[in-house]
């Protein structure tokens, strides 16, 4: 089992962050971590309505980790994952909050100012 790779803050790139968060599964994992503060892999087995295989989930966590977005450390039998928000905020101020907020807007949780409520409801209801 190879050691976990956590890039130093200076090796974290914008491209890496954007690519990692451009996948909906990874984005929701990251959003979940950001609001809960930390969680294990299995806590995310039920993302987006269907069950994601744990190997896939493991790869997603690896992608987040190697992009520098997440720090993972073994904690007994499980793996504790936490975001590296503060570090990234220092290097790229405002980037992560803007992305998280955009994801919320898209999910309909926080519509941009001026959006009529009906429009949001319609969006959440169907239209795919």
């Amino acid at each position: 089992m190879r050691p976990l790779i956590h890039p130093s803050i200076d090796d974290i790139t914008v491209e890496g962050i954007l690519h990692a968060l451009s996948d909906p599964v990874r984005a929701s994992i990251y959003a979940g971590l950001a609001c809960r503060g930390g969680a294990t892999c299995t806590a995310f087995q039920q993302v987006s309505d269907r069950t994601i295989p744990k190997s896939t989930l493991s790869q997603h966590f690896r992608a987040l980790r190697e992009a520098g977005l997440v720090r993972s450390e073994r904690c007994g039998v499980e793996m504790r994952n936490t975001t590296r928000c503060e570090e990234i905020e220092q290097r790229f101020p405002g980037l992560i909050p803007a992305i998280l907020r955009a994801h919320q807007v898209q999910a309909g949780d926080t519509p941009p100012p001026g959006t009529p409520r009906r429009k949001v409801a319609a969006k959440k209801a169907g239209k795919r």
Copy 2:
């Protein structure tokens, strides 16, 4: 020649935007468009020190266009590309500016407050 696809503002997704801008070539194309206000494809043949084949460039423009980041319209023999900044700003406030700023930070143009100049210079010099 199939008609150009421009998603309506409501069909633009965060994932699509992040994915489009996670490629360094596309990111620099977009940044160039954003600061110049508009340009043709060939204006970007010399991005990032080496010549990019025009087929590749065309695909990159298509990716930006279909992500909703850019509007392209034929203008005589050439294609005029402009960003859709204002629309996206309305839907996802702050997202694009944050990404562009992060790219600038990374390029060393606008270091985050407190960064010693030496560090930036060392970064630009080599280290790949």
